[in-house]
């Protein structure tokens, strides 16, 4: 049994799984049920001067029959009275002293920051999270991402918060920037104890093609919202990794963005996160998903022989390098497992139209059927319906072949194959020593 507990900025959490500041942390009743389900911590729905929200306020992208691959919202901060929120925070901490409650905050003036930080601490908050990310509505009023996009303002407000706060201060960053290091370094310079990222990305989730109004529609109008969910995980992973790799960012990271299960969480940890935060997956399936997160991460750590969550944090950072440092001589080819192949032909057409024309339906090297091996130079030949190698028309006879001489190892075929592990990329035994673009440039300079 691995030790899942983590310490982030001095805050002890029973596990790295926190509820992100969002509708699932809107009320004390919800947060308590979240803790009952197993969540280690919760970042309270952002407090500030309460506002009014609109209907509808959520949108989703479905793809190919799968619901909610991405999600967006035009909801703003809490629309409930501050008094009620603080009373509930107090009750939650009283009942769940071992779970972490971080209060997310967003106000304008220095005086307002002083006041709301004091009230948060009085309510028992374990830490604060400054919401400099929300990219809709509040930024029109000079808050949220309007701050996150201005490193100097971000740094100043962070230093205010540190001045007023006796508990750790996290800064939650907006991803709507050129280089996440700019606000990240500003937050560190402002004295923050930790960084949470990413907040949502500016988006229009879609257009109602009947009414021609963007979604989510508020009558005949809509506005841009913040995009999140499984779709954005790669964007968030990149930003977390960039900060984790940067020596100037010497504070821990709470990773947020498209985390649905323990595997996603493990990826964030491996790329430098100490805790992770979840919202969309909880809105889709409920608090109960944390059960497999805890259990799955524990079993994974056991299998890898790691004794604690912290041993995983940052493990993948050494492998994250600049393009110029990659080995230009590293070579892979695709292998198709004929026993697993169901003959759908997707690898064939993907390689033919979208890659390098190296997968064929007849055995033998490319030039035996395609004229010449030099793709794109040789004569154009008619592409007839595939002639599968044994002439059969049952699914099992549709096993395509890789022209191993021509395959450039791009791995597109593997990615489109619907059968897990049917196509794998195998390393070609390397005859040349590693040489990167940086090496070549250095050589040509000497």
């Amino acid at each position: 049994m691995a030790d899942l507990s983590v310490n982030i900025c001095g805050i002890e959490s029973p596990n790295p799984f926190w509820l992100a500041s969002a509708p699932p942390t809107n009320t004390g009743e919800q947060v308590m049920r979240g803790f009952d389900a197993g969540w280690g911590g919760a970042v309270w729905k952002t407090l500030g001067e309460p506002i009014v929200n609109v209907d509808s306020r959520f949108g989703a992208v479905d793809y190919s029959g799968t619901k909610v691959i991405g999600f967006n919202n035009i909801e703003l901060i809490t629309d409930r009275p501050l008094d009620a929120n603080f009373k509930e925070i107090y009750e939650v901490k009283k009942q769940y002293p071992d779970n972490v409650v971080i209060v997310s905050l967003m106000v304008e003036s220095k005086e307002e920051w002083r006041e709301i930080i004091k009230r948060s601490e009085d309510a028992g908050a374990d830490g604060l999270e400054l919401n400099f990310g929300c990219p809709h509505g509040m930024c029109e009023r000079g808050m949220g991402s309007a701050v996150g996009e201005e490193p100097k303002v971000l740094q100043e407000i962070t230093s205010w918060a540190k001045e007023f706060s006796s508990v750790p201060v996290f800064v939650k960053l907006s991803p709507n920037v050129i280089d996440i290091r700019d606000p990240g370094i500003a937050a560190v310079k402002g004295g923050c104890d930790g960084i949470s990222l990413i907040n949502t990305i500016k988006s229009i989730i879609g257009v109602d093609l009947d009414t021609l109004v963007p979604k989510p529609s508020v009558g005949k109008e809509s506005t841009h919202g913040g995009y999140c969910g499984p779709a954005i995980k790669p964007i968030a992973l990149h930003m977390a990794a960039v900060l984790a790799k940067d020596p100037q960012i010497n504070v821990p990271i709470s990773g947020i963005g498209g985390i649905s299960n323990w595997q996603d969480a493990a990826e964030f940890l491996a790329l430098g996160a100490t805790t992770i935060q979840v919202c969309t997956a909880v809105m889709h399936y409920g608090y109960r998903i944390v059960d497999d997160m805890i259990d799955g991460l524990n079993n994974y750590l056991n299998e890898k022989g790691m004794r604690s969550t912290s041993e995983l944090t940052g493990q993948a950072i050494p492998g994250f390098v600049e393009w110029g440092e990659l080995d230009l001589n590293y070579d892979l080819i695709a292998k198709i497992d004929a026993d697993k192949c169901i003959g759908c032909g997707l690898c064939y057409v993907a390689c033919l139209d979208g890659a390098h024309q190296c997968i064929h339906t007849q055995k033998g090297p490319c030039h035996a059927w395609h004229g010449k091996p030099d793709h794109g130079f040789g004569p154009r030949t008619e592409v007839k319906p595939a002639v599968w190698h044994d002439g059969g028309d049952t699914a099992m006879s549709h096993v395509p072949f890789v022209d191993e001489e021509e395959c450039i190892g791009c791995n597109l075929c593997m990615l489109v194959c619907p059968v897990p592990d049917c196509i794998t990329m195998e390393e070609v035994s390397q005859t040349k020593v590693k040489e990167s673009w940086a090496d070549r440039v250095a050589k040509s300079r000497t």
């Binding site: 169901i342 032909g345 064939y348 028309d393 049952t394 549709h398």
Partner: protein
Amino acid sequence: MNDDTSSKLTISPDRLEKKFADYKPLYTESEALIEANRCLNCYDAPCISACPTGIDIPAFIKKIATGNIIGSAKVIFEANMLGYSTGRVCPVEDLCVGACVYNDLNYSPIQIGRLQRYATEKALEKEVSTGKKLFPRNSRKSEKKVALIGAGPASLACAAYLALDGVEAVIFEKDGLPGGLNTMAVAPYKFQTEDSINEANWILQHGVELKTGIEIGKDISLEQLIDEYDAVFIGIGLGTDSRLDLPGSDGPGVWGATDLIRQIKNNPDFSLPEDLNTALVIGGGNTAIDISRELAMLGAEDVRMLYRRSRKEMRGYDHEIVGASHYGVRLVENVTPLEVVRHGKKVKALKVSSTISDDTFELPCDWVVEAVGQLKHVSDVSPEIEVDEMGRLIVDSETRRTAHPKVYAGGDCINGGKEVVNAAQDGREAAFDMLKSWGISPSLHGKKYFKSFFTYNGH
């Protein structure tokens, strides 16, 4: 040419087949979307090869998934003008669905037939509600005209593709209704007579003329048609039921299977006798299974199929045999019928002998149904048209042209009795060969051809 769509053919709504519920009802939109999204969109998909008309199945399914129902239906009809009925009557388990790659993952294959029905039925509904034709009639008119004999699936398909490219197509049908076996024989829990007539009406309105009550060789001769038309298409199907001529079989209570099915489907005055308890069906093919199941579903207490060999040798599809067994149909193997035993006029029993022992015994029954094949139409056809030893008209396997250069044939009369979808394909191939021979490029070719192919070598 009859263009008046108000003169649609109809049939009395009060027939025995109306008692049958649709065993695979039209998908709801939810069901269709979920199923369509499941399709992997295979390239050069095995389901296409398994379809006799080669419908681009992934393409029409993809269009359902994007809500493009009109486009979806057009993909189907371009390859198969009888796409609506074949979506419902095809033995998909043995064709497209059986070839679905998901079978190799031990995963339920895409329900292609049901999606095909959804696309075509919804598109035809839309055609009616919007008044916009899926296939507006081609403005170009050719001088050519074609006579088609028999108004079954083969002729309907052939006539449709001809009419859409401006050829005058006239169908001669000896009976009163078009549709062939779709109208007269398909199991009513799959497809009912109205559906078939509606489909025929839809095809006719593209500019096909139907002349009913005209029998070739009687009212008009084949030679006359050959003289008067630029081509003739023979789609006469098979003849009436073959009969065993058992002693005692003359009289009430002994039926030919297709005749009995037709009574159930088309005759408003037909009903089962109240005291029908036991029906014995002689035969091991799909028609025997169909009528057995229909009788069982209509309430006959005890329906048994009698087959001269064992179940393994039966020609009927396995899934149909299992389907019938759900309704209590049982199988008596290894028997051959000898005589119908009557008590007065009434059938009392069928005397049978075992084919594997010397036993002879009587099986008490009320009805005997003979499902032992249909006669070929050999005698109806001109001596100029060759037939093989099985009585099938001989045609070129690509073009469906007979030895007579102006005469084509398709459907059951060339293949001895296959599926509706095979007949539809025959009709289409024949139409395309006629069009091409007259220099007309078929406007609905059903396949995407590449615009051009060329070679350059860099010089």
